[in-house]
């Protein structure tokens, strides 16, 4: 009777703040969120902004009942054990299911931890965990967490490179195995959602949206590429080589940048960022498996909850939340027109349940790619011939004078 009463009381998920287009950007919290969405359980979400390193977060509460993340193997396991929400009936004893889930929880979780704390500049981690803490407190906690992450992953100065390779190798194997297991199905097992789907979806969406990007193109170069695309570019002459040669080299350079942008764009099916040339290592490994990307994309609507996201202004009036503050970046990432791409980052909007247009390699794009290569190669040969001819005529003039 008490369990029935507890089930009737609405659940509240207390997680870390949302950003990067995710309702909660913490890699530990997002799977729980998706799990509850997959189970079609109504729940509210509240944020804890001041306890970034607590391992009990996320937790689910209903009245006096609380399921902490550091008890009973995690929130999802606690909810199953306590009879609150269970999607794994009759499959939790399947060995392949268990091993697949363990692989996600170990190899992929370690890869995310590595990239979030050690393999990047830390901007994502800072934004997710420490942006709502006063600067000195957040800074010190971030440095402390970096040390903890090293200890958890067993990384030292001597074995850093080897460990990094091992982590990414394991992640690669995991993605291959998951891709093979998924195939073209809607879910990993028995064509129905389980906690394994929730955990992987949380990992995939976090990897695709929240991990930091590397950009090899400066803002000026990005602007120049845009001008080239629009046919408005004005090449900058290089005086040391003569005006004609300088203009020719400038145009080659811009065309090369444009080709690189196009190539990066074709590599991923989810973004058209002109200034994005190279994604995170983990993201690039995930992006090699189109079915996994399609799977994540198809479930992106789960991020749009029936109950309003905290980023929506009406949800901030919840007086019981200790996380009433929202970073301004959260508001800018959501768009009422549905799933659209942000200016600088790939997001999955949360306001309306619209699907993203798929990007697949078409025959035309392949042809364009091949022709671009030939064009640049021809341009390069022409420059070399021109320089050699120009060098020979100048020697002749000097000799005559």
């Amino acid at each position: 009777m008490d369990e029935a009463n507890r089930v009737r009381e609405k659940l509240t998920l207390v997680a870390r703040k949302g950003c990067f287009g995710l309702p909660t950007a913490c890699p530990s919290c997002l799977p729980v969120y998706i799990y509850l969405r997959l189970a079609n359980v109504p729940f509210d979400i509240e944020f804890n902004l001041i306890n970034p390193q607590a391992d009990e977060i996320p937790y689910v509460e209903s009245g006096d009942y609380v399921a902490y993340n550091n008890e009973k193997g995690g929130v999802i396991e606690a909810l199953k054990e306590d009879g609150m929400v269970d999607l794994d009936s009759e499959i939790s004893m399947v060995s392949e299911w268990i091993s697949t889930k363990a692989m996600i929880c170990s190899w992929l979780s370690a890869a995310v931890t590595y990239e979030l704390w050690l393999g990047s500049d830390g901007s994502s981690a800072h934004k997710i965990y420490y942006s709502d803490l006063p600067w000195p407190v957040g800074k010190l906690l971030y440095l402390k967490q970096m040390v903890v992450a090293k200890q958890v992953l067993g990384i030292t100065n001597e074995n850093a490179e080897r460990k990094s390779e091992e982590i990414y190798r394991n992640a690669t194997f995991a993605y291959k195995a998951l891709s093979a297991r998924l195939g073209e199905q809607s879910f990993f097992f028995e064509n129905r959602p389980t906690s394994l789907d929730a955990i992987f979806l949380g990992h995939a969406l976090f990897t695709l949206q929240a991990l930091p990007l590397e950009s090899l193109v400066t803002a000026d170069q990005h602007a120049a590429v845009n001008m080239l695309i629009r046919g408005e570019y004005v090449p900058r002459p290089w005086p040391c080589l003569g005006e004609a040669v300088g203009m020719f080299l400038s145009s080659c350079r811009l065309q090369l940048l444009c080709w690189i942008c196009k190539k990066a764009e074709e590599r991923s099916n989810h973004h058209l960022l002109h200034n994005e040339l190279e994604s995170s290592v983990l993201r690039s490994k995930l992006a090699e498996h189109n079915n996994l990307l399609r799977y994540a994309d198809s479930k992106a609507h789960l991020l749009v909850a029936g109950s309003p996201f905290p980023s929506v202004p009406s949800s901030h009036s919840d007086p019981s939340s200790s996380a009433s503050r929202q970073g301004p970046s959260n508001r800018s990432n959501f768009n009422d027109s549905g799933l659209e791409l942000a200016k600088d980052r790939k997001i999955l909007s949360g306001s309306k349940p619209k699907t993203k247009p798929k990007r697949e390699k078409t025959q035309e794009e392949r042809t364009f790619k091949r022709r671009s290569k030939y064009f640049l190669l021809t341009q390069l040969v022409g420059v070399l011939v021109f320089l050699s001819l120009l060098g020979g005529s100048e020697d002749t003039e000097d000799y005559d004078s």
């Binding site: 804890n48 009990e56 006096d64 609380v66 006063p134 939340s321 200790s322 503050r325």
Partner: protein
């Protein structure tokens, strides 16, 4: 810091004045020549010598009489009229380590006097202030006549004896209003390390409820142009409130005493505070507050204490106002609140058996400020909590004490997390959350006991009655507060007891009867012990 009262008298010049040493107070010196006697015969010489001796004795006696008469005349003049005098020079001696500027700053008042009476008073004050620095073993102020060419002047000689050992230690039992129980504290002090009167100290304290504090501080009597002492203290504090509110508090803070006068004090505090719940049994409101916070606050204290005794006041009054505003750093993510406390105590003697009626009232309010402050809860550790083992008669730290109720034993409460054991849901208790508005009031009638032995030991009896209320105002709760609800929220108790004052603390053995308490309150009728420290 209040200027101490006058303690030790100043030293005065020798009673036998010489032409150079005689004080210029009376403006004149009588000089008498010794008579010379010469004898012819030995008998006549002996007779003459005897006569000479008798005459010498008479001369000395008359000299002493005249000196005494002059001194009596001087004192008469001092008591009846203002004797003009100026200080020509102030000479400091004996300081090998202490900088002259430190001593001169404390004796500044000696230079600006115009009469002997003012000089004596200023010298007494200077003596007390130098002793108050705590770095001198002895202070001697001597007056001597000024130069001959400057009549009506005097020189002041300040001779100090520096402490031989700059290191000192202390150990004892104390109670503090914010701490649940007794604290065992040991401290060490290093005096005058750099010669600026600086006082360095470190202390380590531990209480029975596993609250511990490690702190180190420095006090400077003079810091640049500030006229009041400046203090800085770094504190690492750990308090365990798991049993009452399901959280533990750890804070690392720096406090600066900016102003310290007799009645006014201003201090700034910045601390990094962490609330955690290792038991993971906390209630919902406490769970929302667990985490890190930065506290940056300025506190102003105004205090007037005219009671004749802090342990057993029988006459006088005391008033304390404490105002604190937190969140003064530009970072909006720090803890922001405004806190105000008032304490008023009055003691009225009744004129028989040393009986006195004490009554007092304490109030306090805390409210957050900033964006969305109406919906934001107040900071949990900064709220008011009532109950405990301290006596409200002696405690002047805001509304904290209420006889008969256990520590944090009343006020808003919330059920803890549901505990599961053996398949049954167990009630795991309640968390006391404190309140945003606290009011306490008491009356206490103290009287001597009939036995003389008890009276001589200072043991006396008292009977008391008290009332207290703790209310939530934040998160829009103030909209639901009415006068009737506020009235109904008061808890009351009464009782009798015996008070035993000792050198270290004041102990009360009371029988308390709970007249009114609400649900979840932890009031208990029966014998209770209460401890206070002055």
């Amino acid at each position: 810091m209040a200027v101490p009262e006058e303690e030790s008298p100043i030293h005065k010049p020798p009673t036998v004045p010489g032409p150079e040493k005689e004080p210029a107070v009376n403006g004149a010196a009588d000089e008498e020549d010794d008579d010379d006697f010469v004898g012819d015969d030995e008998e006549e010489e002996e007779d003459e010598e005897e006569e000479e001796e008798e005459e010498e004795e008479q001369a000395v006696t008359s000299t002493m009489r005249s000196a005494r008469a002059r001194m009596e005349g001087l004192f008469r003049r001092l008591s009846t009229e203002r004797v003009p005098l100026r200080v020509h020079d102030v000479i400091v001696k004996g300081n090998t380590k202490t900088k002259d500027s430190v001593i001169e700053a404390e004796i500044e008042g000696l230079k600006h006097i115009g009469t002997v009476q003012e000089l004596l008073q200023a010298a007494t004050v200077a003596n007390t202030r130098l002793h108050g620095l705590g770095i001198f073993q002895g202070v001697h102020i001597t007056l001597e006549a000024g130069p001959h060419e400057l009549p009506g002047t005097a020189n002041v000689i300040v001779e100090v004896v520096e402490t031989k050992s700059p290191f000192s230690g202390d150990f004892g039992l104390y109670t503090k209003p914010g701490v649940r129980s007794w604290m065992l504290e040991g401290s060490a002090r290093l005096k005058n390390l750099f010669g600026y009167g600086d006082m360095w100290d470190g202390s380590l304290s531990y209480s029975w409820d596993q609250a511990s504090e490690v702190s180190a501080g420095v006090s400077l009597p003079r810091f640049k142009r500030l006229v009041t002492p400046v203090m800085a203290r770094v504190t690492l504090l750990s308090q365990d409130w798991l049993k009452f509110s399901s959280y533990k508090e750890r804070s690392l803070g720096l406090s600066l005493g900016l102003l310290s006068l007799k009645n006014h004090a201003v201090e700034y505090n910045v601390s990094w505070r962490m609330l955690s719940d290792p038991s993971q049994m906390s209630s919902r409101s406490v769970r929302r507050q667990l985490g890190h916070g930065l506290l940056s606050s300025v506190k102003y204290i105004f205090k007037v204490d005219r009671r004749n005794s802090p342990l057993r006041p029988t006459q006088g009054y005391a008033f304390v106002s404490t105002s604190q505003i937190s969140g003064i750093v530009p970072d909006y993510r720090s803890v922001r609140f405004f806190r105000q406390e008032f304490d008023l105590r009055c003691a009225v003697p009744l004129g028989f058996y040393n009986t006195a009626l004490n009554f007092g009232i304490s109030t306090g309010v805390i409210f957050p400020w900033g964006c969305g402050f109406l919906k934001t809860p107040s900071s949990l550790p900064e709220r008011f909590f009532l109950g405990g083992n301290s006596s409200p008669v002696c405690t002047l730290g805001g509304p904290t004490s209420l006889w008969g109720f256990k520590t944090r034993g009343l006020g808003p409460a919330e059920p803890r997390r549901e505990a599961r054991g053996n398949g049954n849901d167990e009630n795991s208790g309640t968390d006391f959350l404190g309140g945003d508005l606290a009011v306490t009031a008491f009356t206490d009638l103290s009287f001597d006991l009939p036995l003389r032995v008890l009276r001589e030991a200072g043991i006396h009896g008292h009977t008391f009655a008290c009332a207290g209320s703790l209310t939530k105002l934040t998160e829009n709760a103030f909209r639901n507060l009415s006068f009737q609800k506020f009235h109904d929220s008061f808890r009351t108790s009464a009782g009798v007891g015996i008070i035993v004052p000792t050198k270290l603390f004041r102990m009360e053995v009371n029988y308390c009867y709970i007249l009114k308490q609400l649900e979840h309150d932890r009031g208990k009728t029966g014998v209770q012990f209460s401890f206070s420290s002055p």
